[in-house]
């Protein structure tokens, strides 16, 4: 009997090396993230967490090794891959001279996403009324982060790359972010989230990888879904219900 082909991972890095000039950002990373999985990337400052996300987003070229994103080579299918990947970075990617609505509309239309999702996404993030007509230059850091999140929600990418997503957000926005991650996963998206505050994200994550010196040095399974529940359908609530199963693998 022919066995079914294994599902394509949402993100796969095989011995990936990335350089900035001659400085190694990633020094041979091996990582595979399944579709629908939430993976937490931990590590101290300068460990390579942001670099890992930037390489996955195709913003930093791979010097050697093999990278596939959503089953595609991002060098070869750059536009197709980028339209399916969303990144919440340290910077908000906003234009100060445009207002909130114009910033979100431009980002969503540029990504070829459905403009019909802009209104609900802004509303969800509390970007309503006068705030929509406020220029980005007048926003606080937390409000800029909310706008960047609204773009991400409206784009509804298949792969979410979140770099320190809780930074600059107040308590209500943090809990909203956690909800949004759970909802994205419930609709089949994959989430890779880098943080040096893992305790905030562990309740959402299926697995944690530790990065240090540009390498994956450890891996920890945080939650194991019930065997009969497809992992992509597991939301944060279901995951939170199961007992934690911890496993530590040292790769270095």
């Amino acid at each position: 009997m022919a066995s079914a082909a294994p599902p394509t991972p949402a993100l796969s890095l095989r011995d990936v090396v990335a350089l900035s000039g001659r400085f190694p950002l990633l020094a041979g990373v091996d990582l595979e993230v399944d579709t629908g999985e939430v993976v937490l990337v931990e590590g101290p400052n300068g460990a390579g967490k942001t670099s890992l996300l930037r390489v996955a987003a195709g913003l930093v070229p791979v010097t050697s090794g093999r990278l596939t994103v959503l089953g595609l080579d991002p060098e070869r299918y750059r536009t197709a891959v980028r339209r399916r990947v969303g990144m919440l970075a340290h910077a908000s990617h906003l234009y100060d001279d445009l207002n909130v609505r114009e910033n979100v509309r431009f980002a969503v239309r540029a990504a070829g996403a459905d403009p019909g999702r802009i209104g609900p996404a802004c509303e969800r993030l509390g970007l309503t009324g006068r705030l929509l007509r406020t220029s980005a230059a007048k926003l606080s850091a937390g409000q800029r982060r909310r706008v960047a999140l609204a773009v991400l929600v409206a784009r509804a990418p298949d792969l979410w790359l979140l770099d320190e997503p809780h930074a600059g957000l107040d308590a209500s926005a943090r809990s909203l972010l956690d909800e949004l991650i759970g909802e994205a996963v419930a609709t089949g998206a994959t989430v890779v989230v880098a943080s040096h505050e893992p305790e905030l994200l562990e309740p959402l994550a299926d697995r944690s990888v530790t990065v240090n010196g540009g390498r994956v040095t450890g891996e920890r399974s945080i939650r194991s879904p019930a065997p009969d529940v497809p992992i992509r359908a597991v939301g944060s609530a279901e995951r939170a219900a199961g007992p934690p199963v911890e496993r530590v693998v040292h790769v270095a």
């Binding site: 987003a57 195709g58 980028r82 970075a89 234009y95 239309r109 540029a110 990504a111 220029s135």
Partner: protein, 223 residues
């Protein structure tokens, strides 16, 4: 590609409409440059009229550098350039959109500077279509070459000083051809006086538009 170009041009022009940098800084800079040239040439009218075509294009070139630097700096703040790359916009559309927005600003600038040349230098425009053709073709070339070299300098820390150094020598054909066509336009020349120079501008535009469409993406990824 055209959809992306229209989207990017619309965004850049909206930003300029809000910030008014082109109107409040770039155009006044061009007028100041024309005024300084007039002071340098002295009060006699003849040298100003004979030098007007060249001085107009030198003022346009210097102002173009400012417009391009502005176009690049808009994408440098708050990681906007990464945002553009992540959006999956067609690089050719992005190049054409940025160039289109710069060209629209340059057209306004050239109108202002043409009025300045007439008022400050006492020059009379006798063959209007030659002047218009030179401005139109020169604008396309300046916007295309400027956008391309602006992208080249975008990732470099010293881009403000590097851009004029890269761009100004490259656009010398526009200065040369534009000046010759303007001389014919101010002297009431015939089309045959300007044909070779119009061809030079057309060739320049075609080369830089084609090169920009092809290499803008790789440049954006590499810088």
């Amino acid at each position: 590609m055209w959809r992306d170009a229209a989207l990017v041009a619309g965004k850049d022009l909206r930003i300029e409409a809000r910030s008014k940098v082109a109107l409040s800084q770039v155009a006044p800079f061009g007028i100041v440059a024309l005024g300084l040239f007039a002071f340098a040439l002295g009060p006699a009218r003849a040298p100003m009229v004979s030098g007007a075509p060249g001085l107009f294009w030198v003022a346009v070139l210097f102002s173009t550098v400012l417009a391009i630097q502005r176009s690049v700096s808009v994408e440098s703040a708050d990681g906007a350039r990464d945002g553009l790359r992540l959006s999956g916009l067609d690089p050719a559309g992005l190049f054409l959109g940025k160039a289109l927005a710069v060209a629209a600003q340059l057209v306004v600038l050239e109108l202002v500077l043409t009025v300045g040349v007439v008022l400050l230098y006492g020059a009379a425009v006798k063959t209007v279509w030659l002047i218009a053709a030179a401005c139109l073709l020169g604008t396309v070339g300046l916007a295309a070459a400027g956008t391309l070299y602006g992208a080249l300098s975008a990732g470099i820390r010293v881009r403000e000083t590097l851009l004029p150094f890269l761009l100004l020598p490259v656009v010398t054909p526009i200065l040369l051809a534009g000046t010759r066509i303007w001389q014919a336009g101010l002297a009431g020349g015939t089309p045959s006086d300007a044909t070779p120079w119009l061809h030079l501008l057309l060739a320049f535009d075609a080369v830089y538009l084609a090169v920009g469409v092809v290499v803008y993406g790789p440049i954006q990824e590499a810088t």
